[in-house]
């Protein structure tokens, strides 16, 4: 009779003797094909300072990325105490921090739809920010409101992806997201934290919209499992939410749950960075 070893352990997920679980060696063991054969890109990291006291600078971020051989990351400001009305200061700061590492750190602009966002958008676009980050809870707006739609429209017209927070503290958003995605089929809309407040309905409601992507940072593994089972792997993106989470945990969860959910090995590189690079039109 066949012995179901997979119920008990996966040899790939048990660290070999002396191997630390927060090491690249362990990560490589867990996600062998993905991390060794294709670049990893992180779709969700922060630089600067948050109102909650968390900080991260480029040096710290690059050290974390290097530890796990992550090629690069999308970077945007925290909910910075110096945000003012338009995030001008933190946007400028993170761009300057990313500039010496332009091939690895890709800055998004953070905008506040309540403020004079148009001028800041133009400034950031001209400077070279490659996407937009929106946070409906922190900046207190509804995801599908008329207030924010001009930002979506402008980003879509310019080919910039928009990463919008759909995690902690958000109400159910899938119908609003569907309305936005239907109205702007050329918008590349990345759902930060994969809309976990609205699972599993979000998967059903948003399935018809190929321009909606699910970013997986700090998502509970039952939601991650369902995303990986039900959403085409071309629409799922690895993210960590650094510095709140680490590359270790985020990459391990993605690798282990993708294997359990039956994502074919040849699709793993899409999850770990391929999809993000395609959305950004970046050749790694």
């Amino acid at each position: 009779m066949r012995i179901p070893y997979e119920r008990y352990f996966d040899l790939r997920a048990i660290p070999q003797g002396g191997m630390a679980m927060d090491s690249y060696e362990y990560l490589s063991q867990v996600t062998a094909s993905a991390v060794e054969n294709a670049p990893i890109w992180d779709a969700h990291t922060h630089l600067g300072t948050d109102t909650d006291g968390k900080t991260l600078n480029a040096e710290g971020l690059l050290a974390d990325l290097a530890k796990f051989d992550v090629t690069g990351a999308v970077v945007f400001p925290f909910n910075d105490p110096d945000q003012g009305e338009d995030f001008h200061v933190p946007n400028e700061r993170i761009f300057a921090e990313c500039a010496p590492h332009a091939d690895r750190l890709l800055p998004f602009m953070r905008l506040n739809p309540h403020g004079p966002w148009e001028a800041e958008y133009e400034t950031c676009l001209a400077r070279g920010h490659v996407g937009v980050k929106l946070h409906p809870r922190a900046q207190e707006f509804e995801i599908g409101s008329d207030l924010v739609r001009p930002i979506y429209r402008r980003a879509a017209d310019d080919g910039l992806p928009v990463l919008v927070h759909t995690g902690y503290g958000m109400p159910a958003i899938s119908h609003d997201v569907a309305t936005v995605a239907a109205a702007l089929p050329h918008l590349k809309l990345i759902l930060g934290h994969a809309s976990f407040i609205d699972m599993p309905r979000a998967l059903r409601v948003l399935k018809p919209f190929p321009n909606v992507y699910f970013e997986t940072s700090v998502v509970r593994v039952y939601d991650l499992f369902q995303v990986l089972r039900e959403v085409d792997p071309s629409r799922v993106m690895y993210g960590s939410d650094k510095p709140y989470s680490s590359s270790t945990v985020s990459l391990q969860s993605m690798g282990i749950m993708a294997a359990m959910a039956g994502v074919p090995e040849e699709r793993m590189p899409d999850l770990f960075g391929g999809n993000l690079l395609r959305v950004l039109d970046v050749t790694s």
Binding site: P4, Y5, F9, Q16, M21, D52, Y244, V249
Partner: protein, 147 residues
């Protein structure tokens, strides 16, 4: 009939179990220091261990969000106690990871990250929940085939 395998390296022991075609539930591990541990837990014990830890981490996160830091620390402390003594050889690896996430949350709270606006403790407790759930998923999603 149980089989005893000698070793302290989890990966090596598990590989030997696979190579010898042994059933994990019928293996004990001799650690060479007088301890003999079952390689794995049976289903009820495995479920009990991880549901206990998961519920502690979940309760801690919810108490944190409600602002009750004293009770949050109490739940984390209880989870750390429950994760302290590995009841079998294999789970020692995963319990160490869970303890690390819980200790991160505890440290953050003790250093003043106590408001619901602080995302760090929330993330650490979510990570602890996820580590428990991944162990439950592994056992639950691969049921023994009939016969």
């Amino acid at each position: 009939m149980r089989t005893t395998v000698k070793g302290t390296d989890v990966h090596d022991v598990c590989r030997e179990v696979v190579e010898r075609g042994l059933h994990p539930e019928q293996v004990d591990v001799d650690l060479g220091d007088g301890r003999l541990l079952p390689l794995v837990l049976d289903d009820p014990a495995h479920f009990t261990l991880y549901v206990r830890l998961y519920s502690r981490a979940l309760a801690a996160r919810n108490l944190f969000l409600s602002g009750n830091i004293r009770r949050t620390l109490w739940e984390i402390g209880a989870a750390l106690i429950a994760a302290d003594e590995p009841p079998c050889f294999l789970e020692g690896v995963y319990l160490a990871e869970i303890r690390f996430a819980l200790a991160n949350a505890e440290e953050a709270l003790r250093t003043g990250q106590t408001s619901a606006k602080h995302h760090g403790p929330y993330a650490s407790m979510t990570i602890a929940e996820n580590l428990c759930l991944m162990r439950l998923f592994r056992r639950q999603l691969h049921p023994t085939p009939p016969g």
